[in-house]
Subunit: 250 residues, 2 copies
C-alpha cells in the first residue's frame, strides 16, 4: 500500500537526533487543502442546491459544487464561509462540516484533500452571483441534479444524507424558511426534506408541544381562505433547553 520510496517517519526520526518539528519534512507538507460547500435552499416545495459552472480547469465548463483551495494562513471554517459569501452575499449562516475526502487520486492537480460543508439558507434572501472561479451559479432541484465534477457527486450525496439525519434530531430546518412562517409551510418543508407525509393535526401538535415556536399573533394577508397564523423560531429558548440536554426529535 505504501510506497517504499516515500519516507518512513519513524526511520527518519531515528536518523536525525533532533526534534522532528525542526526537520523539514517536505514530503509530508505537500498536500493541498480545499473546501466544497453544499448550499441547500427550499423553494416552492422543492429542496434545492446551489451549483456552479466551473470557470477554470480542471473540469472547466462542468457542473460542480462551489469550493476553493484554502489559503495556507486561513482557517478552514473561514474559508467555507468565504466561499458561500462570495456566491450568495450572505455572511451569517448555518454551516456544518460533513466529511473529509482524502482519496489519493481525487484531484488532477495533485494531492488535494477537501472538506465538505453544508449550509442552509432562506432562498428568498439571497441573490446568487458568479465569482472569480465560476461562470455562473444556479439553484438546482435536488432530484434533478446533473453529474458533477471531481468526486462532488459523492460529496453531495453524503451531505443530503447527513442533512436528512440531522434534521430529524435538531431544529435546523428553520434555517430554510423566512423568519416568519406558517405551520403549513414548516410541514411542507419537512415533508420535502424527509420525503414523508404527515397528518396536519398531528404535525401541529407535535411541533407546538416542543415550545420552540413564538406565536407572532400575525396572519397571512391576501389569501382566499382563512389566513394562517405566523410563527418564528425561538432560538434563545432552544439554546437554553439544549444546555439542559434537550433533544428535538422530529
Amino acid at each position: 500500500m505504501l510506497n517504499d520510496e516515500n519516507l518512513d517517519l519513524s526511520e527518519k526520526r531515528a536518523q536525525f537526533a533532533v526534534p522532528y518539528y525542526e526537520i523539514s519534512y517536505e514530503k509530508f507538507f505537500q498536500f493541498g487543502l480545499s473546501v466544497d460547500c453544499v448550499v441547500f435552499g427550499y423553494h416552492e416545495n422543492k429542496l434545492k442546491v446551489l451549483l456552479i459552472r466551473r470557470g477554470a480547469a480542471p473540469f472547466k465548463g462542468e457542473w460542480a459544487l462551489p469550493g476553493d483551495l484554502v489559503y495556507p494562513n486561513e482557517n478552514i471554517d473561514v474559508a467555507a464561509r468565504r466561499i458561500v459569501q462570495d456566491l450568495t452575499g450572505i455572511s451569517k449562516l448555518y454551516m456544518e462540516q460533513t466529511k473529509v475526502y482524502g482519496q489519493v487520486d481525487r484531484h488532477p492537480a495533485g494531492r488535494v484533500i477537501t472538506t465538505g460543508y453544508y449550509s442552509l439558507i432562506d432562498i428568498d434572501k439571497h441573490d446568487p452571483q458568479a465569482s472569480a472561479w465560476a461562470d455562473g451559479v444556479y439553484w438546482m432541484d435536488l432530484d434533478d441534479c446533473p453529474s458533477l465534477a471531481f468526486d462532488h457527486d459523492e460529496i453531495l450525496k453524503d451531505a443530503v444524507q447527513i442533512l436528512r439525519d440531522k434534521v430529524r434530531h435538531r431544529p435546523i430546518g428553520f434555517e430554510l424558511l423566512p423568519k416568519k412562517f406558517a405551520l403549513a409551510q414548516l410541514q411542507e418543508l419537512y415533508e420535502a426534506l424527509l420525503n414523508a407525509d404527515y397528518d396536519k393535526a398531528n404535525f401541529r401538535k407535535r411541533i407546538l408541544s416542543k415550545g420552540l415556536l413564538i406565536d407572532l399573533k400575525e396572519y397571512q394577508t391576501g389569501v382566499s381562505h382563512r389566513p394562517a397564523r405566523l410563527y418564528s423560531f425561538d432560538e434563545d429558548r432552544y439554546n437554553v433547553l439544549k444546555e439542559k440536554g434537550f433533544s428535538f426529535e422530529l
Copy 2:
C-alpha cells in the same frame, strides 16, 4: 483575514493563460495532513479510551491520542486503520470520521490539518502495543483522562459527543461487546455510554422488539445465579432493514 502577500487564485489565473492545474501552486501545496484516532473500549462497566505517551517531539512525553501524518500516496482512511492496527493489532474494526481540525496554529511544525476518527473495539480482543511513535499505550477511563497534547482534548470531547449521539440512533454499541453477550451486559453498556439508568424489563422488551438479536440458545456457565441467555447481534438482518429505511433509535 487573508494575507495579501499570499496569492490570490483568480489573479494568478488571469496572469497565466494556461490551465490552472499546470501551474505549480507551491504555496497552496504546503499543508500537512494527519489523522488522530479516538479508540473506545468498554471494560467493567467503564467506558475507556486508548491514549499514548508521545515518544517524539513535539509534546514528547505528554499524553495524546494516537495519530500520525498521512503519507502523500496514502488514502486517509487507510492511514486511520494503519494507526489503530499498529497499536491494537486489530485490522477489521468499526471506524468513522468525526471532524476536521484546521486551525492555522494547531500544530507547531507547520500547517497540519487533522481528521478525527473514532473506533469501537471489544477490549478483550486486543493487546495494546507501543509503536514507533509512542512510548506506551494505555486504556484510560473516560471520566479520568489527563489533559492531552495539541488540540486533542477538543478532538476527544467531540468524539465522545458524536459517539453518544450516534449510539442512540444506530446499533454501533455492539462493537464494544464480545460476539456473545447477555442482555444485562448490553444494558450496562448503554447505561455507561449514555450515563442513564434503565428498567431491566423495559430495556429488554425494547431491545428484543427490534428483532436484531439472535438468540443463541446458549447460557452463561459457572455463575452462582440463574445463568443468562446469550445473544449475538444480527448484522445481516440489520443491513436488510437499513436498506428499507429502518432506524434503530435507542
